[in-house]
Symmetry: C2
Subunit: 106 residues, 2 copies
């Protein structure tokens, strides 16, 4: 449903680094921003976009907001990708057979 937003979201390298940091588990904003080459506000903006794409969730915990990976956006992305998977494998198999008929060139 929202695979397009998820894609444009994860296209940005910095945003991807933010997202990948959450793979190890939920983290507050400060912990995510620490060590990244951009300012903390930039991280906040990235998290906002990731949230709108359904890729992360957040919950308040005292004075800090803890972000975690949201399966919804990830699932939509995976479903879209699977539409190509079968076709791609079939084409790949066909190519191998064609090469085999030619006597494995290259």
């Amino acid at each position: 449903m929202a695979y397009d937003k998820a894609l444009s979201c994860l296209a940005d390298p910095t945003r991807r680094r933010v997202f990948e940091r959450l793979r190890a588990g939920p983290r507050p904003v400060g912990a995510i921003a620490k060590g990244l080459p951009v300012s903390r506000p930039a991280v906040s903006q990235h998290l906002k976009v990731l949230k709108e794409a359904g890729l992360v969730r957040d919950r308040a915990e005292g004075t800090q907001r803890v972000y975690s990976i949201d399966p919804h956006g990830l699932g939509a992305l995976r479903a879209w990708l699977d539409q190509f998977w079968d076709q791609a494998l079939a084409a790949f198999q066909q190519e191998i057979e064609r090469d085999h008929d030619r006597g494995q060139p290259r």
Copy 2:
């Protein structure tokens, strides 16, 4: 390996439409461009980027070049995505159990 290029590649809506047209099977450039709201050179440029990302292949066929989906880029993308899949499902399951303990709020 090249999942980052594949992601930034498929982030563009027009480029995605080009890519999705190849899902039905290999097509020459002209056939791909026909019906799209952009010029044919634009499609050529998109195909170049898609090729560099390992998402499409092309072969000469007379005076026209036939493009098709390349499984390599697609596989790299899927592999990267799978790294998150297990973690996301586990978190989702954990969330459901937490809601269950609380008596299914909302």
